[in-house]
């Protein structure tokens, strides 16, 4: 019902787009069950979406899968000012990470450039009624009017979502925080800035351990910065961090307190044929993600996504070209600073598909089993709600098909930098500037 008569081969469909008009979205993250989706924006706000539970009995009925609606909105970070350096501190939310759920409340970490905050998101749907000393509006009663005692009773009330800051982890970073990652031990997390990685305990805000420090004694010698860091999903002693030179370093915290010396370093030797002045810039890793299995690493540099096997350091096991047609345009992209754009990359729930963003509102998905990639578009004008997404193509030569986009007509202001994949199902959230798109894969073979 409600299905357009599209080709059954293309099985991606467009559920709904949620427009957050206010600001540019800077991070997107599902929680561990996928029921909650958090977005952070440049204005320091966090918006949490909740998936509606399927109320109908026949959950396979088309169009009845849970949709995401706004659950809560709060201001996470405010603009700040560093008086010592006469610097503004942006309130933009760089990363959000959910903690594994332990009780009825949900916890998430959000960070801007300097400060990490732990937020508690809880629901309240009952309130006590029948106080002895206060009346219904909360005013103190006149004692003389109290003739009998009663026990206050909890009565159901409209659902209220409360968000409160529980911890503020401040003053841990001199440079800009680019990553946070919750440890599998459930007690600690790491935060990484350009030159250092710190480890925090979730309950302790006035102290953190510095576990990586690559700041040189003489800043003139600085040639490499940390670009991303993540804990291993199962081993609480392992973490990885990526650098602007395209290297990945796996560190084992059991080896030493300060993990400046890596356990493993993953580096691909440079291709001499492709060498240019921009080689280093485009090799800079903008995002690194462990696979759910913990066996592989996914990295994104400017032109490619790469899959690395933790057991093999000498090079990636898979390389996918995201937009190789930009290689001849690197100088212009350097001029307009696009070459410094930091794209994220994500795994699907089974580690069989990887996804990353590109320009012109395009994003790319690669099927690891077949090695094939597909280009999709997150752009409202070309999709109707509940329509099936059609694949797009950038024309790079050969036979030109209708709908192909030329390289010179790509819009470099429409970049898909941030995205998330549902931990269990094929639902993806794509941030396109100030719009959030949620796409769902509909396997509609049996249901038609």
């Amino acid at each position: 019902m409600g299905e357009d008569g599209e080709s059954p081969k293309i099985n991606h469909s467009f559920l709904r787009d949620y427009v957050t008009e206010a600001d540019v979205i800077s991070t997107v993250e599902f929680n561990q069950t996928g029921d909650l989706l958090a977005t952070g924006d440049k204005g320091g706000r966090v918006v949490i979406f909740q998936r509606e539970t399927e109320s109908k009995g026949e959950s396979e009925e088309l169009g009845e899968s849970g949709e995401y609606n706004v659950y809560s909105t709060f201001q996470s970070h405010e603009p700040d000012f560093d008086y010592l350096k006469s610097l503004e501190i942006e309130e933009k939310i760089n990363k959000i990470r959910w903690l594994p759920q332990q009780n009825a409340a949900h916890f998430l970490l959000s960070t801007n450039d300097k400060t990490i905050k732990l937020w508690k998101v809880s629901e309240r749907d009952k309130r006590p009624e029948g106080y002895n000393l206060k009346d219904e509006e909360g005013r103190i009663k006149d004692i003389s009017t109290v003739t009998s005692l009663r026990v206050p009773v909890l009565k159901p009330t409209d659902l209220m979502v409360e968000v409160r800051p529980r911890r503020i982890f401040a003053n841990g970073h001199t440079y800009h925080v680019n990553s946070i990652s919750v440890n599998s031990d459930g007690e600690t997390y790491l935060s990484a800035d350009d030159l250092r990685v710190n480890m925090w305990h979730l309950d302790i805000t006035d102290r953190s351990f510095n576990i990586v420090d690559i700041k040189p004694a003489n800043m003139e010698d600085l040639t490499e910065v940390i670009t991303a860091a993540e804990f291993h999903p199962q081993h609480c002693h392992l973490f990885v961090y990526s650098s602007s030179k395209g290297t990945l370093r796996l560190c084992d915290m059991r080896e030493s307190a300060l993990c400046d010396k890596h356990s493993k370093i993953f580096e691909e030797p440079e291709d001499p044929g492709n060498r240019s002045f921009f080689s280093e810039i485009i090799s800079s890793v903008s995002d690194v993600k462990f696979s759910h299995s913990g066996r592989y690493l996914l990295t994104r540099d400017y032109l490619t996504v790469k899959v690395w096997d933790l057991n093999m350091e000498k090079g990636p096991v898979e390389t996918y070209q995201v937009h190789e047609y930009l290689r001849s345009k690197l100088c212009s992209l350097y001029e307009n600073d696009c070459i410094f754009d930091k794209f994220e990359c994500v795994w699907n729930s089974t580690d069989s598909v990887i996804m990353t963003g590109a320009y012109n509102s395009f994003f790319r998905m690669f099927d690891r089993e077949t090695g094939r990639g597909v280009t999709l578009e997150a752009w409202r004008e070309s999709s109707k709600p509940r329509a099936v997404l059609r694949t797009r193509r950038v024309y790079t030569g050969g036979r030109r098909r209708r709908g192909d986009v030329g390289v010179d007509s790509l819009d470099f202001t429409k970049k898909i930098l941030h995205m998330a994949w549902h931990p269990a199902e094929n639902i993806i959230a794509i941030a396109a500037t100030n719009n959030l798109y949620i796409f769902q894969d509909r396997v509609n073979a049996e249901n038609l």
């Binding site: 003139e220 010698d221 060498r275 810039i281 690197l330």
Partner: protein
């Protein structure tokens, strides 16, 4: 587009074979021009970094590495001129000129080439100005700044004198005085950014009081060993010091004690006065 070794196809049939060398020179000069414009662009980007309130360190590092890479290549090509050794004003003494140098990582040629130091830019450089070599030498003498950096520049001067006719780009052809082995006239008509871009060193904290360099004065180091120098490092420099918000690049340098010459590897007396200056600024801010 700027891949190394890219050559255009030469399809003009009128050219004689004897003009091949000229063709080669043209192609090479076109590559040099492109490379130079990339260098200019990078230096401007670095300068803009200074003006931003919150510069992105990753971007700065990547741009700086690109500049270094170009410099290395230009140095090995022999086309690296002393960039913009002009004075802000004629009356300024050499010691007032702010000189920032930067150490290139490593010389590719294994032989006894002197350690290469590059002078990327000077404050207030002007076009069309030619500086006699002895000025450089006098700077090195009068400065108490580490001899290492300036000696390197001198070394490059002398090295320049041995390169004869290597340069192929247009300016080199015009300036045939290079390679004379005499006092070299440094051609500052270089196309490098004329707007006094910041040097790599300045970007990353040439003003760093941190004594990271082989400190000439260990006593001084002991004295300040427990001082938290994190205030004085990269971010402070990138953001234009504490004394005034959002200063332009000139202001940054002006706000330091004018007696300072080279901020890069700060010598003892300079270091002390720098610290006094910063203490003074800190007092004003803290209001103590």
């Amino acid at each position: 587009m700027f891949s190394k070794g890219t050559k255009r196809k030469f399809s003009d049939g009128d050219e004689e074979i004897s003009d091949e060398s000229l063709v080669g020179a043209r192609v090479a000069s076109s590559y040099s021009l492109q490379r130079q414009s990339l260098l200019d662009m990078s230096l401007i980007k670095l300068q803009l970094c200074h003006m931003l309130v919150e510069p992105n360190l990753c971007r700065s590092v990547l741009i700086a590495n690109t500049v270094r890479q170009i410099q290395e290549e230009m140095t090995h090509d022999g086309s690296w001129h002393m960039v913009a050794e002009a004075f802000c004003s004629a009356g300024q003494s050499p010691s007032e000129r702010l000189v920032a140098t930067e150490v290139l990582c490593r010389s590719r040629e294994q032989d006894a080439e002197p350690k290469l130091f590059s002078v990327i830019s000077y404050e207030g450089c002007r076009e069309e100005e030619v500086v006699a070599d002895e000025t450089l030498c006098s700077v090195s003498v009068s400065d108490t700044v580490s001899n290492v950096c300036l000696a390197g520049r001198i070394g490059q001067c002398w090295e320049k004198s041995e390169l004869s006719g290597v340069e192929r780009d247009e300016e080199a052809l015009e300036d045939s005085r290079l390679g004379s082995g005499e006092d070299e006239e440094i051609d500052t008509k270089d196309r490098a950014s004329t707007e006094s871009p910041k040097t790599i060193g300045q970007v990353f904290g040439t003003f760093e009081i941190k004594n990271g360099s082989p400190g000439p004065d260990s006593a001084l180091e002991e004295l300040f060993s427990d001082v938290d120098t994190s205030y004085y490092d990269l971010d402070t420099m990138l953001t234009g010091m504490q004394s005034a918000p959002k200063m332009g690049p000139y202001d940054i340098l002006d706000s330091l004690a004018p007696s300072h010459s080279s901020p890069s590897i700060v010598s003892t007396p300079n270091c002390r006065s720098d610290l006094n200056e910063l203490d003074h600024i800190m007092e004003i801010i803290v209001g103590s």
